[in-house]
Symmetry: C2
Subunit: 201 residues, 2 copies
């Protein structure tokens, strides 16, 4: 029988291998799209044997779904860190809108976009990705409502908060091929003003 001490380091190694595979998959997806992010190619890039990789992720769908959850977890942790720094008072709405917009940029977003594109044309993957997406959508909305102190019982407030997240997603997509940070910054400021007017009633 294996002792608890023997089991523990093996579990740690396994977790570390899994994390390496996921990081490598995010990078391959962001840079090279879904076609190049096979379990074998990801394993090679991570310096992990194909057998070990297949133990963690038997199929491409398993890998992609795990990547999606990994991205959401790391984005979630990043968001929670930044939320602590959101100021109270007049600049708050703009800071929250900026947070939402930032959540849809960077390598994580690029990788997620490639996963969405792959899921749109792969029914098996789509069926597994959609519930996770819907869950995250609800969580993001709830977080935005709380951060903005939005009263959703008032007309238009719920839709305005939803529009904030849809706008952020659209700005992220526009940013995919060309970097337009300055334009994005101006739109965030303008939208925050419009949103404030709705929140104030």
């Amino acid at each position: 029988m294996e002792t608890a001490e023997e089991r523990e380091p093996r579990q740690e190694r396994s977790r570390a291998t899994r994390a390496r595979l996921l990081e490598s998959a995010v990078e391959r997806l962001a840079r090279g799209g879904a076609a190049g992010a096979t379990v074998g190619a990801v394993a090679e890039a991570a310096g992990v044997s194909r057998g070990a990789a297949q133990h963690h992720f038997p199929t491409r769908e398993d890998l992609f779904l795990a990547v999606m959850r990994h991205i959401l977890d790391s984005r979630g942790a990043e968001l929670r860190r930044r939320i602590a720094g959101v100021p109270e008072g007049p600049g708050r709405t703009e800071a929250v809108v900026q947070l939402a917009v930032d959540a849809f940029t960077g390598d994580d977003f690029r990788a997620a976009l490639q996963l969405w594109a792959a899921a749109a044309s792969d029914p098996v993957l789509r069926e597994r990705v959609v519930p996770t997406e819907e869950h995250v959508g609800r969580e993001l909305h709830r977080a935005a409502v709380e951060l903005l102190g939005a009263d959703e019982s008032r007309p238009g407030v719920r839709e305005a908060v939803q529009a904030t997240l849809d706008l952020a997603r659209g700005l992220g997509l526009a940013n995919l091929l060309t970097d337009d940070g300055a334009r994005r910054r101006r739109i965030v400021r303008q939208w925050a003003g419009m949103l404030d007017a709705v929140l104030a009633g």
Copy 2:
């Protein structure tokens, strides 16, 4: 020497073949993603010989760029038709926002999204796609300004119009995996109200 009468039908046949290839490429992109939209596969689906297809589109980049322009042309024609039906008066802003949002749904948008995803991870394709994208972005913005009767010299108006197109893009992306027509409808109405307030100053 070939007579003009002989040349004409051949040119017509060539145009018809090209159009069939492009329609077939849009469908393959929308349903199966960029990986399955090779020149050979598109030719087979269109019932065109591989040689004839390669005469029109020597490389995958040539095909994808032509598809992008084809989508933009057909969307542009559709938009011009619908613009004629946009009412004057109080419902106008909402009708224009709805037009913008509709421009980012359907098979054309699905195909375009797959092209963007492919371009994000293919420097050659990206370099060719970006100028077209930027041109279209400017044209769409100009059309929206005109339709809304927006005075961009007033503060925030330019950004609010840009945000409308970014929101439309974001709603289209959200719609990729799940159909959320009813939610989209409510957001369009709310957004139109907020946009009207900015346009009225």
